[in-house]
């Protein structure tokens, strides 16, 4: 059951947009595809929807091969970035449309529409036209239209990207709650890592048509496989330092102190993540760095470049030699030009492929 995507490839002429993606999505899972625009996430979603056909590969939904089936035969629902509401129909007619097409009797239709609209808090607007609604309300209508026929699979293509930041945060929790209550298998496409982190059961980070890493949000946050993933997740992003392995068991790094005492199990990963020139990156999240007395054991010497107080935390921009990086600390009163020691707890240092 669920969705199986096997070796799906999509080419437009000479351009490969999706490059052999394979993934299994479990029943009821909330699966997020995350990446920059043009990475192939939307195309992958549209192939699952049947709006686009794969050049090769197959797609199964609930055990049925739907690779080339028409969208209407896939039992899916979809929410679009620009909502895709029918501008000439009222909210009621919009939500009722899928039922009407499926020839659901009128009385049932009314009941279901009202029920769904009630759940999404748009019951008062049923007689309005889409242009009379705010962005958030429109998105609710599009969700209601998708949910009204109890689909097995729900596909969402950046549904929140046209909303303002505050509304986005509200809708995020609401959508997540709604689909997990209903237990619908969901594929959600976004370029916003916060959305991905907060909503997903599993995230697939995509780049240039490939799924670079698939895993739970914390897995991806804590253990990014590549520089790209490390850089994409978290704000400010992970600090990455060029490193190499010249002698086995003794990695060298721009800031040598950070890699001196990497734990053994992390050390063991290095061999697998070296690039062709024997390089890798040592990564550490800004919030894991500790500012200590200059010269204390295992710490590196750095100069404060710039300080960004954010209220609860403070972003401290640092320079060690030629290398610039960021530490996120609790509120502090460091000044520009201060010389500090920076300590990277070994258990938080990651070995990352370039």
């Amino acid at each position: 059951m669920g969705i199986q995507i096997r070796n799906v490839q999509k080419r437009f002429g000479a351009v490969t947009v999706v490059n052999g993606v394979s993934v299994d999505i479990a029943d009821g899972e909330f699966f997020v595809m995350l990446g920059e625009s043009g990475c192939g996430k939307t195309t992958t979603l549209r192939m699952v929807a049947g709006l686009e056909l794969p050049t090769s590969g197959s797609i199964h939904i609930n055990g049925k091969d739907v690779t080339f089936a028409e969208p209407r035969h896939r039992d899916i629902a979809m929410a679009f970035q620009d909502y895709g509401l029918y501008p000439n129909m009222t909210v009621f007619e919009n939500i009722a449309f899928p039922l009407k097409i499926r020839k659901v009797p009128q009385a049932d239709r009314r009941r279901k529409v009202e029920e769904t609209a009630g759940r999404l808090g748009i019951a008062d607007y049923l007689s309005r036209k889409p242009f009379q609604l705010s962005g958030g309300q429109r998105q609710r209508v599009s969700l209601a239209r998708a949910l009204v026929r109890n689909p097995k699979v729900f596909l969402m293509d950046e549904p929140l990207s046209n909303l303002d930041a505050k509304l986005r945060a509200v809708m995020r929790t609401e959508i997540k709650k709604l689909v997990s209550d209903l237990g619908i298998t969901t594929i959600y496409v976004t370029h916003d890592q916060i959305e991905a982190m907060s909503m997903a059961d599993r995230i697939a980070v995509m780049r240039r048509g490939d799924m670079v890493q698939v895993g739970s949000p914390l897995e991806i946050y804590d253990r990014p496989l590549t520089r790209f993933v490390a850089d994409f997740m978290g704000s400010p992003p992970m600090n990455l330092f060029p490193a190499s392995l010249k002698t086995p068991g003794r990695p060298t790094c721009q800031i040598q102190e950070f890699v001196d005492s990497i734990p053994d199990d992390e050390q063991a990963l290095i061999a697998g993540r070296l690039d062709s020139t024997g390089q890798f990156s040592a990564g550490i999240r800004p919030e894991h760095l500790k500012l200590v007395q200059p010269g204390s054991a295992g710490s590196a010497r750095a100069v404060v470049d710039f300080v960004e107080p954010l209220g609860q935390t403070t972003n401290v921009y640092l320079t060690a030699g030629e290398t610039r990086f960021i530490a996120v600390t609790d509120r502090c009163n460091r000044q520009v030009g201060d010389v500090v020691g920076v300590y990277a707890p070994p258990e938080f240092v990651r070995v990352i492929a370039n």
């Binding site: 351009v15 049947g50 709006l51």
Partner: protein, 311 residues
């Protein structure tokens, strides 16, 4: 790089399904058939006719004469006269109606109460059947009984001979053309003016630019795409002007209004010299195409259109 290409692609043609490449072509078929059967095939056929001496009033047997008709056209002074007249006609009519249209647009852009109604009334001439336009102007331009001369006398001007004199006939049909088609230009230029952004004008006001300065360095450049499109369409249509000239003067007096289309009509349907007429048609078509190409080149028309396509 590849990323941006692929997004553009995805944005453009999303709705492709199995076999839908064929569906797309299938949808194009009716238009394609219409275009080729009624449009291009007769044109190709006309190219063939132009190489013969076909004339149905001479028994209708077509003898192949090679490029003879084209050679004959080269020395046909009457044709070149007609072409020259058409140039003068198109230039005078299009320029004046463009200038008038811009002035009218500026005037009506003041948007005083009642202007909507006046604007609607001004539209009407372009909707009147050109034959009817010819009729009414011919009535009005009668030298001894016409209302135009009456009005001229009343306001103290010399009455004119209008289409009855070879010196004023061309100007008279230019006037009629301006009357009928300035509304077309006005409609388009006005739409352009109304949709101009406000900020450049506010910036100019802050910079202290005067009204004339603003017009030449902001309004006109911003209106350029709209003006180019309107002018191109007008040139194409002015070049084929036939109806009003046919009704009012039939090319006379003394061939003073013998526009290309009037002359071609005479060759083809008075003398039925269809082979020769076809050759002239093709020469005219080539000249018109060259004019359009020069215009599009000079005005940046293709760039304007492709910018619109790319949005």
């Amino acid at each position: 790089m590849t990323d941006s290409i692929s997004t553009a692609k995805v944005g453009g043609d999303k709705a492709q399904r199995a076999g839908e490449r064929r569906a797309g072509l299938l949808l194009l078929t009716p238009a394609f058939v219409l275009m080729n059967v009624v449009g291009f095939f007769p044109m190709v056929y006309s190219l063939y006719i132009s190489l013969t001496d076909y004339n149905p009033s001479h028994g209708g047997i077509a003898r192949f004469v090679g490029l003879g008709n084209y050679a004959k056209a080269f020395f046909d002074l009457q044709y070149w006269h007609a072409l020259g007249l058409t140039f003068v006609f198109v230039t005078l009519s299009v320029t004046s109606s463009l200038i008038l249209a811009v002035l009218l647009s500026l005037l009506f852009n003041m948007r005083y109460p009642g202007f909507f109604l006046l604007r609607t009334i001004i539209l009407i001439p372009m909707l009147i059947t050109p034959i009817a336009v010819g009729i009414v102007w011919r009535v009005m331009m009668m030298p001894d009984l016409g209302v135009l001369n009456y009005i001229l006398t009343v306001i103290g001007l010399q009455p004119q001979l209008w289409t009855s004199s070879s010196s004023t006939a061309l100007l008279s049909i230019v006037l009629v053309d301006i009357w009928q088609w300035t509304p077309f230009m006005f409609l388009i230029v006005f739409a352009g003016i109304s949709s101009l952004p406000k900020s450049p004008f506010e910036a100019a006001a802050i910079d202290g630019a005067g009204a004339i300065r603003v017009f030449f360095s902001i309004t006109l450049p911003l209106l350029r795409p709209v003006i180019v499109i309107a002018t191109l369409l007008r040139i194409v249509d002015a070049f084929r002007t036939y109806d009003a000239a046919f009704i009012m003067t039939r090319g006379g007096p003394d061939f003073a209004t013998d526009l290309v289309s009037v002359y071609l009509q005479r060759v083809n349907f008075r003398v039925f010299d269809l082979g020769y007429g076809s050759a002239l048609s093709w020469i005219t078509l080539v000249i018109l195409t060259v004019i359009i190409l020069i215009f599009t080149k000079l005005s940046g028309f293709t760039r304007i259109i492709s910018e619109k396509e790319g949005r």
